[in-house]
């Protein structure tokens, strides 16, 4: 799995080396979750569910939520 060498396809000029899963996993876990939290705040906070009470977040991103295709209200 952890190959850093281009796959031996001799006929093609450039096949990029694959990045090992072990190198990707920590970034994927931490930043993947962080990015999903950001998406949640843009897309759903104070709509279907709320972490913070009130409607400030919802009202602030109101237009973006509509135009990005999220159900808004």
């Amino acid at each position: 799995m952890a190959q850093t060498v281009a796959q031996p396809t001799s006929t093609t000029p450039v096949v990029p080396a694959t990045l090992p899963l072990k190198a990707i996993a920590p970034w994927a876990v931490f930043f993947g979750v962080l990015m999903l939290v950001l998406l949640y705040f843009v897309g759903a906070e104070q709509g279907a569910t709320s972490v913070f009470s009130g409607t400030d977040v919802h009202e602030w991103v109101h237009d973006a939520r509509h135009l990005l295709g999220f159900p808004c209200h």
Binding site: Q7, L19, W27, L39, T55, D63, A64, H66, L67, L68
Partner: protein, 250 residues
Amino acid sequence: MNSATVRNLLVRGMLAGLGAGVLALVVAYVLGEPSVNSAIGFEEAHSHEHEMEVVSRTLQSTAGLATGVLVYGVAFGGIAALAFCFALGRVGRFGPRATALLLSGTALLAVYVVPFLKYPANPPSVGAPDTIGKRTTLYFLMMVLSVLLAVAATQLGKRLALGLGTWWATVVAVAAFVVVIGLAYQFLPVVNEVPKDFPAALLWRFRLSALAVQAVLWGGFGLLFGELAERQLHPAPARASSGHTVPASN
């Protein structure tokens, strides 16, 4: 070294997402906002209660819109960069630029277009407030389902390629994706909450502009990130020989 490569690609992905977000923001403001304002005009003409404004329309349509679109761009840019790290060299004989564009095209379809065809974007005044929970659940469910199925179809295609060759493996994998998505479309509940007299042309214009926002976002991301990734991975004339090391150019 590889961990540093992933980190650099992630940073570039978020920057490319920010750049693509700026382009998408222009489209959202120029094409989308007029429809949003018309829809709000319809809402105000047809409802008797007047809601108190928490955030002014001016702020919502400028700073608020920018916040939402840019955060969305950065977040999906980061996720797409991580997916790119996985896809690079694993989906076929594609270099960084082609992989990035292929990935962002697939993401446009899986993340947006497929859920959109079942649960399209709605302007203000379309949608009953008391069904927001159900609609949000269905929308995110459709999005997650579509993304997972796209990943599964890619894996299926890779396996089949050994026996069927790339062409037919791709055809079969795409067909499998279409069939399963078709079944989901068929069995998931229909949402139709368009008010009776809501102008059809306005709804159409709003939805087209929402689609344009995403097309520009993902198209821009694919091109921008592809270029950044290409420069990071092949700084000199492109060579991927054994012992290919990636300089930490950041």
